[in-house]
């Protein structure tokens, strides 16, 4: 077994061991990140409100998540007398598992060379990557709906109902905004999407700018984060679907929410910001005819990629930074924007996101077809033309939103006096 051999399923035991190790490490990393995201949420919210936040447990409050976890483990579990016992217990599990499982297909670093062979830094490089994520992330809503229904509480029920309506509305927009990525990459495998971004020379965020904005909005709605936290809506529904939950079961919903956030952030980084790719071509490596290459020479011959451990580490750090930025964006927006009204959420989803993403897909498809027909090869020029087209689309979208009327706030629209209203 040479050191340039990529460890795959045909290697049997080695593959099993490597995958188990990756699962264990990534599960740990994800859980720790989730725990520290809750702390970051509390600290950032405090700083935004000119407070200090939890800073007592451990240095700078860094042990706070452990204290929270212990508290939630030791608290009394309550089971409402009129709740449906089976589904009440099933709810938190159904919410948490899909949130964690989706992380399996996201590539998080450049392939790692080991004495036993090259280890691809993704748990499961399934050929249906994006579809797998779409399928599983929408499963998460079952936990919420079942929890809301099983609680036998009208607020929880309303929360669950809203969650399902919101999920249905924005799942469509999410899928449609993803089509742009899939068209450009020509593949649904996430590792392939990363490598196509390396080949293009530009991260997809620029050639697909409007797609990224639409995906961002839909991802916020899908993860039930403010300004789209209809299912929880503390001021309207107490805490919505998890009103009746306590202790570790409540904690599981909490973990699920943050794990969803983490997955969505990682997905945004992977699909639109090059995944683990760093600026420049020094870290590029992708599969070409079964070989890992870093690009093509002047005569068109593929150049074999040089794998080093520090390259893997640097790319992992880059991936972590990108994901961390989106996590921060989630928190930042949560503590800035107020919640939408329910009808505004529906209006934005059905009347704005879906038609615009459909139209954008058409425009992109036409542009790409024209470029291919004109003989422009997939590369930097190709990306540049798409960037210009997308930029114009984004400007149009921003102009449309800016004219108002799409999301009517309390202070927007014409001032209607009482007399005018009854006439």
């Amino acid at each position: 077994m040479g050191s340039s051999h990529i460890i795959g399923i045909e290697d049997g035991t080695a593959y099993f061991l490597v995958t188990s190790a990756k699962i264990a490490v990534m599960f740990g990393v994800v859980m720790i990140t989730v725990a520290y995201t809750t702390l970051a949420e509390r600290r950032v919210s405090a700083f935004i409100q000119d407070r200090l936040g939890p800073n007592r447990v451990g240095p700078m409050g860094l042990l706070q998540p452990i204290a929270d976890g212990l508290k939630n483990l030791l608290k009394e579990e309550t089971l409402p007398a009129s709740a449906s016992r089976l589904y009440f217990l099933l709810g938190p599990m159904l919410a948490m598992i899909p949130a964690l499982v989706t992380f399996a297909v996201i590539p998080f670093a450049a392939p790692l060379p080991t004495p036993w062979g090259v280890v691809p830094m993704v748990i499961a490089d399934v050929p249906i990557g994006v579809l797998y994520i779409l399928a599983l992330s929408s499963l998460g809503v079952y936990g919420v709906v079942i929890a809301g229904w099983a609680s036998n509480n009208k607020y929880a029920f309303l929360g669950g109902l809203r969650a399902s309506a919101q999920m249905i509305s924005y799942e469509v927009g999410l899928g449609l905004s993803l089509i742009a990525v899939l068209m450009l990459a020509g593949n649904v495998t996430l590792t392939e999407i990363v490598s196509r971004q390396q080949q293009l020379g530009i991260w997809f965020a620029l050639p697909l700018s409007l797609g990224f904005i639409l995906f961002l909005i839909c991802a916020f709605a899908e993860t039930n984060r403010l300004p789209f936290d209809m299912p929880e809506a503390e001021s309207e529904l107490i805490t919505g679907f998890h009103t009746e939950y306590s202790a570790m079961k409540f904690s599981m919903f909490f973990i699920a929410e943050y794990a969803h956030m983490l997955t969505a952030s990682a997905l945004m980084a992977t699909l639109f910001f090059g995944g683990w790719d760093l600026p420049g071509t020094w870290d590029d490596m992708y599969m070409f005819q079964g070989q890992l290459i870093s690009g093509f020479g002047a005569n068109g011959a593929p150049i074999a990629a040089t794998l080093t451990v520090w390259k893997s580490l640097a790319t992992f750090l880059g991936f972590a930074l990108k994901t961390g930025f989106f996590l921060f964006l989630y928190i930042w927006i949560r503590w800035t924007l107020p919640r939408f009204r329910y009808d505004q959420v529906m209006e934005l989803g059905w009347k704005v996101i879906i038609p615009i993403s459909l139209g954008y897909t058409m425009v992109l498809a036409a542009t790409m077809l024209t470029l291919y027909e004109a003989g422009v090869e997939y590369g930097f020029t190709f990306g540049l033309v798409l960037s210009v087209v997308s930029g114009l689309c984004t400007l149009g979208f921003v102009f449309l939103l800016d004219k108002g009327g799409t999301i009517g706030g309390a202070a927007s629209g014409k001032k209607v006096t009482f007399e005018q209203e009854i006439l």
């Binding site: 700083f47 935004i48 407070r51 108002g404 706030g409 927007s412």
Partner: protein, 166 residues
């Protein structure tokens, strides 16, 4: 004016752009986040500043020779709305009245400060102190010795320059 009031200008209900307003809001929150000046007081490490009229644990003033200033007139237990002061008065050889028993139940006290207001000899005071945690309930009944041994500053019930709080 007793309290300074600030009249806020309400914006007219005009067409607003959600997008621009959202970006403006994000700018404001980011500015607040990066601003190192925070309002939180790190209490046990940094002492909180008590206001001069803050009313807390009682304290009994004493004469230079160590006797309490109290003349056992009985006004404070009469005026006390929470009925938390127990006073048994006595008289010495020279005919000076003094408290034989003077107890304040700090649990029942509502810290209204009327005992201090009513005292003719300025003996009993409410003080600028709140760190009075104890392990038993009995310890919250302060007897005369304990009241005399308190050393925190007393409360200024009114500003001498502005007695009517105008």
């Amino acid at each position: 004016m007793p309290i300074s009031t600030k009249i806020m200008e309400r914006p007219e209900a005009v067409e607003t752009s959600y997008l621009r307003a959202a970006l403006k809001g994000m700018k404001i929150t980011l500015k607040h986040m990066l601003n190192p000046k925070k309002v939180t007081q790190q209490y046990p490490e940094v002492e909180t500043r008590l206001h001069p009229r803050w009313r807390g644990t009682h304290r009994m003033e004493v004469h230079a020779d160590g006797r309490p200033k109290c003349v056992a007139c009985g006004l404070c237990p009469t005026v006390c709305p929470a009925n938390c002061i127990r006073l048994v008065g006595g008289e010495d050889d020279q005919g000076n009245r003094y408290p034989v028993v003077y107890e304040i139940d700090e649990f029942r006290c509502i810290f209204c400060g009327m005992c201090q207001e009513v005292c003719p000899v300025e003996a009993i005071h409410v003080g600028q102190d709140f760190e009075n945690a104890e392990y038993t309930r009995e310890r919250f009944v302060y007897d005369l010795d304990r009241l005399m041994n308190q050393d925190h500053p007393t409360t200024l019930l009114w500003d001498p320059a502005d007695p009517l709080s105008e």
